[in-house]
Symmetry: C2
Subunit: 229 residues, 2 copies
DNA sequence: AGAAATTTGTTCGTATGTATA
DNA sequence: TTATACATACGAACAAATTTC
């Protein structure tokens, strides 16, 4: 009996869902006041609030004291946090995370190559240079992560971006050991850096083959038996 | 000012997070009573409850009236529902969805090939046969979806599975038109069915190349400029 | 089996801080 | 500046379900 659909606040959620679906509520719109909602849905204000908090935490709306509850237009940030939290509580299996990350990056790459803008290209090159010149492992980790992040963002797909961000948020504690594991498998650290270099310059120069090669080299050293064409 | 980190109920969430991280709270464990928590965290019971509802809706815990609040062990189902809801509210851009789905399926495929069990292989073949023999489009859609679903589940990666399920839940309304669009681009319906056949038998027979060919053929007809090796 | 105690579910009232006209 | 509307937070009360004795 883990499931009980009897929760009163679900009426509020269903209400919002329905209003969105019907087109009566659009991003930025203000919801009726909590008291109105309580009256309309025949539940207490507290129950209304429970539902509102839920939606707020999902990033679907935001509350402004003294003003009202508004449907949010962009809740990517909150969506990311939430995903990250769910993943965290669920318990992360390193293999699962690596597989998922690989799934996202691999698919984001071709999209990124065709959609990246000049600003991002510039940043990407800077990261590749910085990574190459980084004096210590901490710096390298920073450039490493920025590099991957820029590429995924350049794909312009919010699902991919949100999922990736959620993962990297989780991986913060693990990234050091993961990087170390990769390096151990490679003949030297430079091999990893050259993989990154291919990846970055491939994307920046619109050379998908080169970029994909770099990415494959990068991920090959994580212990997954991956698809090799 | 969409962000206000001052919410009182966050204390409860932080508490749970910390207790989970410290190992003091494990799946199935009962939390302290709401009144205890209110006292301990120095917030009102209402605020405690707001936090609890949040976590419950995330599937992280469940409440039983008269008994207590328990940390949940598996909340994959809720995670899926939640993802689906977030995606729904966010508004689906067909291209984004297609790209994301492709990302998941492509990466799930090699994993599925190496992890699928006999039971699933059998089902998969049945779906392929059923699809071939289906008398009308409704039936074909059913077999179509089941086929893809079995493959993704066979990859044994909860992130991939949850994301995929969330997407297909969304796509229910769009799947007909999408299928129609694909068929229109193919020379005939049989071409789509043969793609599915390659996919299903490839997985069932452990032939990754065949399966991947089927999948690529399948997705090529969706209007994305995808990575072609 | 039954009664009492415990715990969550739901609602109301009130005080307070904030935004808006 | 003032007045009003609104959300925030708390405490208390009772109902309903469960557990304990």
């Amino acid at each position: 009996m883990t499931d009980q659909g009897n929760r009163t606040y679900k009426r509020l959620i269903d209400y919002v869902k329905q209003e969105v679906r019907a087109g009566n509520l659009q991003p930025g719109d203000r919801l009726p006041t909590e008291r109105d909602l309580a009256l309309r849905l025949e539940i207490s204000r507290n129950s209304v609030r429970e539902g509102l908090r839920l939606l707020e935490n999902m990033g679907i709306l935001y509350s402004r004291q003294g003003s009202g509850n508004y449907l949010s237009s962009n809740f990517n940030q909150t969506m990311t946090e939430m995903l990250s939290f769910m993943y965290f509580i669920k318990g992360m299996n390193d293999d699962e995370v690596a597989e998922f990350r690989w799934a996202i990056e691999r698919s984001a790459l071709p999209l990124a190559v065709s959609r990246i803008n000049e600003e991002e290209k510039k940043e990407l090159k800077e990261m590749a240079i910085g990574l190459d010149a980084a004096p210590d492992e901490d710096k390298r980790i920073y450039y490493d992560r920025q590099l991957h992040k820029i590429i995924v963002h350049a794909c312009r797909n919010d699902f991919l971006i949100a999922s990736y961000e959620a993962l990297t948020g989780l991986m913060d504690t693990h990234i050091k050991s993961m990087r170390k594991a990769i390096i151990d498998r490679m003949e030297s650290r430079h091999e990893l850096e050259s993989a990154h270099s291919d990846l970055a310059y491939g994307v920046a120069e619109g050379d998908l083959k080169k970029a994909m090669n770099g990415l494959e080299k990068h991920f090959t050293y994580i212990n997954i038996d991956l698809h090799k064409d």
